[in-house]
C-alpha cells in the first residue's frame, strides 16, 4: 500500500483556490509576488495530485452491537 501523504486535502485545495482567486483580484499584479504565489500553487497542486493517486479507502467495521436503549 502506498504510504499516505499527510496533507489535509480540503485545506490545501482551499489554499490553491485562494491563490487562483488572488491572481484575478490583483488590480496590478506584482510580478515578484505573482511568481511566489505561482510557486506555492505548483507545490500545492503537485501535493494534491499525489494525494489523488491514493487508491485505498480504509473501511472499519465498528465493533459494537447497535440496539435501542
Amino acid at each position: 500500500m502506498k504510504k499516505p501523504i499527510t496533507v489535509d486535502f480540503a485545506k490545501s485545495f482551499e489554499e490553491l483556490e485562494k491563490i487562483t482567486q488572488w491572481f484575478d483580484s490583483e488590480e496590478h499584479l506584482d510580478l515578484d509576488k505573482g511568481l511566489k504565489q505561482f510557486e506555492r500553487g505548483l507545490e500545492l497542486a503537485s501535493l494534491l495530485k499525489q494525494k489523488l493517486s491514493e487508491v485505498e479507502n480504509k473501511v472499519t467495521e465498528i465493533k459494537k452491537k447497535f440496539e435501542s436503549e
Binding site: 499516505p4 505548483l42 480504509k58 459494537k64
Partner: protein, 403 residues
C-alpha cells in the same frame, strides 16, 4: 371438595396471575382491525381490536409512547401485549406493547399520516438542510453488510476517491431489530468526540415495498436523522422508492451508488479542476510577464536613443576641441619661443662670458665689500672655470658703490 371462597379482588388477581403465567404474550401477535381509537389527555390510548368476520372484540389500552406509527380506525394491525383484568371496571383489556399496521393499504395510510405530521412539524424544511464538505475525511456508513447497497456504495466510493476512512455500522435494515439498531448507530456516531465524528452519515439500503422499508419510514428514525449533528445522506433502493428518512435527510440520494457520488468527489473532476486552476494562474502570470517585457523593450529602445544622442554630442565636442586646439597651438608656440629667448638673454653664464665674475663667500653671493673681512676665502666664478682667493684689503669700506 370444599369450595374456596375468594373476594372479588383476590379472584381477579388470581385470574391475572394465570393470564400472566399461562399466556405466552411475548410470542403472540394479535391481528385485527382498529376501531373506536381514542387518545385521552394526549397520553392514554384506547381502542377496540376487532375481527372483521367473527364478532369478537378485544379492548386495548396503551400510552402514546408505545404507538410509534399513526393509527386510525379501520386499519389492520398486529398488536403485541399482555392481557389484564381491570378490577375497577371488571373488564379484560390488552395492555399494548407495540402495534404495527399490516397490509399495503394500512401501511400506506400510516405512512401518509406520519408524513403529514412530520412535514407540519418542519422536519422536511429545505432551509435546515446542510451541505456536505466537498472533501470528506471520514464517512459513517449505516447499512447491513449483507445488503447489495453496502457493496454498491463502497465500490463507487473506491472508484471515485481514495484516502478516506469509512466507519461502517452494521445494522439490520429491515425486520424487528432494524429500528433499534439504526437509532443506536446514529447515537453512536453523534456521541463521538467532535474530532472523531465523520463528516457525513450515509444511511442506505436497497429498494423494497412499504413493509421492507418500515425502518426507513419509522418516526424515531426520521427524528434521529433530523436530530443528527452530522449531516445525513439517505439512499433507498431504486430511483422511485421514497422513505420518510429520505425527506428528512440533508441529502436525498436516489440509490446507494448515487449516495457515493454525492459524498465523495471524483478524481477526474478534481484533477481537471487542479489543472484548470494552474493553467489560469500561469496565464495570468504570463500576461503580466508579457506586460513587463513590452515595458522593458520600450525602455531599452528609449535608453538606446539617449545613448546615441550622447555619443553624437561627445563626437561633436571632440571635433570642436580639436579645431580649437589647431588654432591655439601656433600662438602657444610663439609665446613659448619668446619666453625662451628672454630666458636666454638673462642667463648669468652669458654675462660671465662677457668678463664678469661672481664672488661667493661660503656659497653666498657677495654684493658689498664691507661684508668681507681680510683673510676671508672667496670663491670666484668666471665665464669659464672658477678659482678660490683670499681677501688682502678692503677698499672704501662701506662708502663707495660701484654700480
Amino acid at each position: 371438595m370444599e369450595p374456596v371462597i375468594l373476594h372479588v379482588a383476590d379472584y381477579l388477581s388470581l385470574l391475572n396471575e394465570v393470564l400472566h403465567d399461562r399466556v405466552p404474550s411475548n410470542e403472540i401477535l394479535i391481528e385485527g382491525e382498529v376501531s373506536d381509537y381514542r387518545v385521552a389527555q394526549q397520553k392514554w390510548v384506547s381502542f377496540d381490536l376487532k375481527d372483521e368476520k367473527a364478532e369478537a372484540v378485544l379492548k386495548c389500552f396503551a400510552t402514546t409512547w408505545q404507538i410509534t406509527t399513526p393509527i386510525e380506525d379501520g386499519m389492520r394491525v398486529h398488536v403485541k401485549g399482555f392481557p389484564k383484568m381491570y378490577e375497577r371496571f371488571g373488564t379484560l383489556k390488552l395492555n399494548v406493547q407495540s402495534i404495527e399496521p399490516i397490509g399495503e393499504g394500512a401501511l400506506k395510510r400510516a405512512y401518509d399520516l406520519l408524513k403529514k405530521k412530520l412535514e407540519a412539524e418542519g422536519l422536511f424544511d429545505v432551509s435546515r438542510k446542510r451541505t456536505l464538505p466537498r472533501f470528506p475525511k471520514k464517512i459513517g456508513l449505516i447499512t447491513s453488510r449483507d445488503a447489495a447497497a453496502y457493496g454498491d456504495f463502497l465500490r463507487i466510493v473506491n472508484n471515485r476517491w481514495g484516502g478516506i476512512e469509512i466507519d461502517h455500522a452494521h445494522v439490520h435494515v429491515q425486520g424487528r431489530e432494524a429500528v433499534g439498531e439504526i437509532l443506536g448507530a446514529f447515537r453512536y456516531f453523534n456521541m463521538l468526540p467532535v474530532e472523531d465524528r465523520p463528516d457525513a452519515i450515509v444511511l442506505t439500503r436497497g429498494g423494497g415495498g412499504l413493509e421492507d422499508l418500515h425502518a426507513f419510514n419509522d418516526e424515531q428514525v426520521a427524528r434521529a436523522v433530523y436530530q443528527s449533528l452530522i449531516p445525513v445522506v439517505v439512499a433507498v433502493g431504486h430511483e422511485r422508492d421514497e422513505s420518510l428518512a429520505d425527506y428528512v435527510a440533508d441529502i436525498r440520494a436516489s440509490t446507494p451508488s448515487n449516495a457515493a457520488e454525492r459524498v465523495v468527489p471524483s478524481r477526474a473532476d478534481v484533477k481537471y479542476e487542479l489543472d484548470m486552476m494552474m493553467r489560469h494562474q500561469e496565464q495570468q502570470l504570463q500576461f503580466v510577464m508579457d506586460e513587463y517585457r513590452t515595458a522593458a523593450d520600450r525602455m531599452a529602445t528609449k535608453v538606446g536613443h539617449i545613448l546615441e544622442r550622447e555619443r553624437d554630442r561627445l563626437l561633436m565636442m571632440q571635433t570642436r576641441l580639436q579645431d580649437r586646439a589647431q588654432s591655439w597651438l601656433p600662438a602657444l608656440r610663439d609665446v613659448i619661443e619668446s619666453s625662451a629667448r628672454l630666458l636666454r638673454q638673462v642667463d648669468p653664464t652669458r654675462i660671465l662670458a662677457r668678463g664678469y665674475a661672481i664672488v661667493r663667500v661660503g656659497g653666498a653671493v657677495v654684493r658689498d665689500a664691507s661684508e668681507l673681512a681680510v683673510g676671508r676665502e672667496l670663491a670666484i666664478q668666471l665665464g669659464t672655470g672658477s678659482l678660490d682667493a683670499e681677501v688682502l684689503r678692503i677698499n672704501g669700506k662701506g662708502k663707495q658703490k660701484l654700480v
